[in-house]
Assembly symmetry: C2
Homo-oligomer: 332 residues x 2
């Protein structure tokens, strides 16, 4: 029988998980004291973000592997740091698990966390492991950014273009494919996007350096809801051109296979963790300099004009404001 | 009927909770963007600590009021910062709650958090609220400390004296009183200590400035287990004098009322959040300069001598290494 947490206890678990940790020079104290102590760079601002993932709400087992779960828990936080224009630095984890959880599950979860941390030069410096009848993962990630590079949601100006990285709707299509048991090649592609999101940390640096974005947000709850957040914070309106939305071949196929509108997936799917940002029209010629496809999907208009979606036929509609909201099913 | 979270949704909840937030000048971006952005002091180290509290594991309702729950969730983190010699700065909260939770519950929880934050000059700068079938509170707190003032667990030296703030066993006695439904005046006193712990942030500053501690830890899991952690980290042994342990009148009475050994409460009770530290014998004359009672309870000895407890009659025993450990009942 496989070894469970109740066999080794909290102290045994922590010593296993932290056995091979090595720290960079900026870590004065890592795991094992009352708090971690790290050395911030001089002159930078500190960014802090936190995300809680709950079994049965944010993920179901065994739909996601423990490795993917660790990866994703960290990725969603890194995506928030990317959306501020920052670099990812130090993380701590609060981890609730049932006592009968296999030790190997927790080790794989940490492997996933360590893999993405290594890729994005981030250090796990502390945590708290507790018993809980469902798995709950709360990662808090700090980052750093210079004041000049800090990008808020609130800086969009009338006349700016609206740009999105890569394609949208993939993760939402992946979730639908899982829920419907669809396992076609296209389904597998989008399922991977849902389970192993790539935080746009590297691309964010390039976007900030090359395109001078005026406002930025990551797409976590769906394009429409996150775009409305950016517009509300900036006190502007938006006009989106439906035909411009970057929808992948895989999303189109899965949408057809499941008889879902691909536009719905693109607008309300959520969890793409792509960056959505605004910038001056003059910068459009530099879009190709960034190492990820960038697409202009619309423009910033006066606040009074609201959130408008322009369909293929030139028809204008209010942008549907749908996406995931906790404590309710859907917000209308 | 009272308003529940499902009536107002996540977005409605967040706007209620953050309506009256005001920030100090060091907060560049607070709640409402992808991450908070704050301005660290130049030259200091950053401290990071995180604690997850789970309903049914760390607390039960309605034994603790939501206000006390908020207070305590933050206090346990502040205690970790105090144990490093630091000052408390910026916090974020991950909060899981059932959809049928009354909005007033969450508001009182935040009132408790804000009250302790205000008292200790700490700012709540962000969070994540999600649905969860049990209440889960994960606070991550950052602090600052100069390199000179940083106190680790690992610095205790042979010949140092071992000192503890205030009295010990009170919170453990309070928990026992709750579990046995004891409601005498002394029980009420220790129950309050269990539900509303005082983090020793102010006292920590004085201890660091006036007593030059060599090692420090906060008592969260019980004196014996936390003292052993300090001794292990410092590679030293300890000798504790039973008669010197500062046990309050209220603990003695409650122990008698419940037929529990008061020594057991003092050694293994846990959750006192008092500071336990070591310092040079020469500094003992300055103990009175700190604004909380300090008691020398023992001395640091060679590692080979182990963890020894000296009883009244001069009898020496191995210090019982008991305290709370997750995933198991008790560790022996």
């Amino acid at each position: 029988m496989s070894c469970q947490l109740l066999d080794i206890g909290e102290i045994g678990l922590i010593s296993r998980l932290t056995a091979n940790m090595s720290y960079t020079k900026d870590i004065i104290i890592g795991v094992g004291d009352d708090a971690a102590a790290v050395k911030p760079s001089v002159g930078n601002l500190l960014l802090i973000t936190t995300d809680m993932l709950v079994e049965g709400v944010h993920f179901t087992l065994p739909t996601i592997t423990p490795y993917q779960l660790g990866w994703k828990s960290m990725a969603v936080n890194m995506s928030d740091i990317a959306a501020m224009g920052g670099i990812s630095r130090w993380a701590v984890i609060g981890l609730g698990m049932p006592a009968h959880t296999p030790v190997s599950f927790t080790e794989s979860l940490y492997d996933g966390i360590q893999a993405i941390c290594q890729r994005y030069h981030t250090q796990l410096v502390g945590g708290d492991t507790v018993s809980c009848d469902k798995i709950v993962i709360n990662i808090t990630l700090t980052g750093e950014v210079s004041h000049e590079n800090l990008i808020q949601r609130s800086g969009a100006r009338v006349g700016d273009v609206i740009v999105v990285t890569n394609t949208i709707g993939d993760a939402g299509a992946g979730l639908s494919a899982i829920q419907h048991g669809l396992n076609t090649p296209s389904a597998q592609t989008v399922i991977k996007k849902h389970l192993e999101p790539i935080p746009r940390l590297t691309e964010s640096r390039q976007i900030v350096q090359l395109l001078s974005p005026t406002a930025m947000i990551d797409i976590s709850d769906g394009l429409s809801i996150d775009l409305c957040r950016l517009a509300e914070a900036s006190r502007v309106g938006v006009r989106i051109y439906e035909d411009n939305l970057p929808i992948s071949e895989a999303v189109s196929i899965v949408a057809r296979e499941l008889s879902i509108k691909k536009l719905y997936l693109a607008l309300s799917g959520g969890e793409d963790y792509e960056l959505l940002f605004t910038m001056s029209l003059q910068m459009v010629k530099a879009l190709d300099c960034v190492d990820v496809p960038l697409t202009v999907i619309g423009e910033i208009v006066e606040f009074e004009m609201g959130q408008i979606m322009v369909a293929s036929a030139g028809l204008e509609n209010t942008l549907e404001f749908q996406g995931y909201e906790h404590f309710r099913a859907l917000r209308h």
